[in-house]
């Protein structure tokens, strides 16, 4: 799987593309940890844009859980947006959508991130 990382002000948008399965999960997790620690400056918020995320296995869910915990420890707000229907269902079924905020699209996720700081 590939990651596109974009900086919008002090918000980092991470867009994973492909399947987040057992093999891809460790790399994804490491990449997120690098985003959290930031190149010099820590982002205020990290948003995962799920437009290109086709599949999330249980190992992939675990990567999200660990990321959410790291973000919480570092005081970074962490949210998901624009999930494909199948992936959204996985987050709802597993109960993860209750502990990680899920937004309909990137704009509302960004608005929420900005509001959180105001």
């Amino acid at each position: 799987m590939n990651l596109r990382i974009e900086e919008i002000g002090d918000v980092s948008c991470v867009a994973p593309v492909g399947r987040l399965d057992f093999d891809a999960a460790p790399g994804f997790q490491e990449a997120l940890e690098r985003v959290f620690s930031g190149a010099g400056k820590t982002p205020a918020a990290v948003i995962i844009d799920g437009t290109g995320l086709e599949y999330v296995s249980s190992a992939g869910l675990r990567a999200f859980l660990l990321a959410a915990r790291s973000a919480q420890r570092a005081g970074i707000s962490f949210a998901l947006c624009a999930l494909q229907p199948a992936v959204r269902e996985v987050f709802e079924l597993s109960g993860f959508s209750r502990i990680i905020p899920v937004h309909a699209d990137r704009a509302s996720a960004l608005a929420q991130a900005q509001q959180g700081r105001a």
């Binding site: 057992f22 249980s58 190992a59 869910l61 675990r62 079924l93 597993s94 502990i99």
Partner: protein, 423 residues
């Protein structure tokens, strides 16, 4: 090794050319002796071989140094004489070594034309050639400096030998460790499979079948049947995040905890909440497990269930209609302490089938990277669910395997089918 190629020649010599017996005896004796020395000083690689090797290296250094000393003008006659004698002895030993190496080599011609063979020959050849024509003396003497190359081949050989031996030792150790690891994994796998219940508790009117196909040697999925104190039966299907040894350990911990809580907490939601708290308290690897847990009253057919982030099971009604056991669930177990799990109730009717499964079934990929999907599973249950639970389990496993084709199995595949009431 040597004899098959030697003896025919000896026979021809004996029959054709009449070589006198004492000469033949002598050559045979010499041959045997040389072979013995070759074995002792070259092939054996034992203490004698090492000592011989050191002697050769020392001689090379000495002889190269003496070439330098020889060129000093006005050297006294006694010194020149000593050096000449030393040169004769050195060449004699080098010649002996060269012969031994030829004898020891499997491919004799190959050795003669090899780099080392040529260098060894060059180290002694000038001495013998000088005897024929003295005018070449000076030039050929300089050729003796090529003995430095001999030094290089010796060290190179030693280093290569040492590295080869080290590598072989390391490889052997690695292979041993790997074999041990594999054997231990096999034991762990059989232990894990032994945890899964062998048979459904005998109850009139109830029948169940189950199957677990791990993706790697150690799976993270499990199912369980629990006999509860008041005659009810607990049914569990669960999927630990990831697979391999960590998932298998967590599975064993989760299963034990759930069994313990099930006996104490009659309410499925409460049972999951207690299990979740227990798992959160002993979860160093931060794994989690999705669990669907239900309690069946075999007398009434009432099924109470709670869902901790698991795929909702199917109920196939006697008429063939497939329903999904929805109803709000809770978070996966082991992720966050204090999570709540609402309990729901459904009435089973005679002949209904309950189909529990993990996402290894619905999320099996085919070579075109398409998902098996919930719809295919529901269709199988709808069309083929009328027979015994074992037949349906077999049918679904077959269908998933056929669908996946050559694509590798990425997740454990686990299925449990239960029928209640007369079919």
């Amino acid at each position: 090794m040597d004899h098959p190629s030697v003896s025919p020649r000896a026979r021809t010599a004996g029959s054709g050319l009449t070589v006198p017996l004492p000469v033949r005896r002598l050559t045979e004796l010499l041959r045997a002796k040389t072979r013995g020395f070759a074995q002792l000083l070259i092939e054996s690689r034992g203490p004698y071989a090492r000592a011989f090797e050191n002697l050769i290296v020392a001689l090379i250094i000495f002889s190269v140094a003496s070439i330098g000393v020889e060129s000093i003008p006005g050297l006294p006659e006694w010194a020149m004489r000593t050096l000449r004698v030393a040169e004769i002895v050195t060449v004699a030993i080098f010649t002996f070594e060269y012969l031994l190496r030829v004898v020891a080599a499997r491919n004799k011609l190959g050795f003669v034309f090899s780099y080392q063979g040529m260098v060894d020959l060059l180290a002694i050849a000038p001495f013998y050639l000088v005897g024929f024509d003295a005018r070449w003396l000076r030039a050929l003497r300089l050729l003796r400096l090529l003995r430095v190359l001999k030094l290089q081949t010796h060290f190179l050989e030693t280093v290569v030998e040492e590295r080869t031996r080290e590598l072989a030792e390391k490889n052997a150790a690695l292979e041993k460790a790997q074999a041990q690891l594999k054997a231990e994994l096999e034991v762990a796998r059989s232990l894990q499979l032994a945890i899964l219940p062998a048979a459904f508790p005998a109850r009139s009117g109830c029948e169940a079948a189950a199957r677990m196909i791990p993706a790697t040697t150690m799976g993270g999925d499990f199912y369980d049947y629990i006999e509860l104190p008041d005659g009810e039966i607990g049914l569990v299907i669960a999927d630990v995040s990831g697979h391999g040894v960590p998932a298998a350990f967590f599975m064993a911990v989760a299963r034990t905890n759930l069994r313990e809580q099930a006996v104490h907490h009659n309410d499925p939601g409460e049972c999951l909440a207690q299990t979740n708290d227990a798992l959160c308290a002993q979860n160093p690897l931060e794994l989690f497990v999705t669990v669907f847990y239900c309690v069946l009253d075999p007398k009434s057919g009432v099924l109470r269930y709670a869902n901790g982030g698991h795929n909702p099971p199917y109920i196939r009604r006697a008429a063939g209609i497939v329903e999904t056991l929805r109803g709000a669930g809770g978070l996966v177990l082991g992720a966050m302490p204090g999570s709540r799990y609402p309990t729901h109730t459904v009435q089973l009717l005679a002949g209904d089938r309950l189909v529990l499964f993990t996402d290894g079934v619905t999320e099996a990929f085919n070579p075109a990277e398409e998902l098996y999907g919930a719809q295919r599973l529901a269709d199988e249950v709808h069309v083929h669910g009328g027979g015994t639970p074992a037949a349906l389990v077999e049918r679904i496993c077959q269908s998933v395997t056929n669908f996946a084709g050559t694509a590798p199995q990425s997740d454990d595949i686990t299925l449990t089918v239960l029928t209640w009431g007369a079919p």
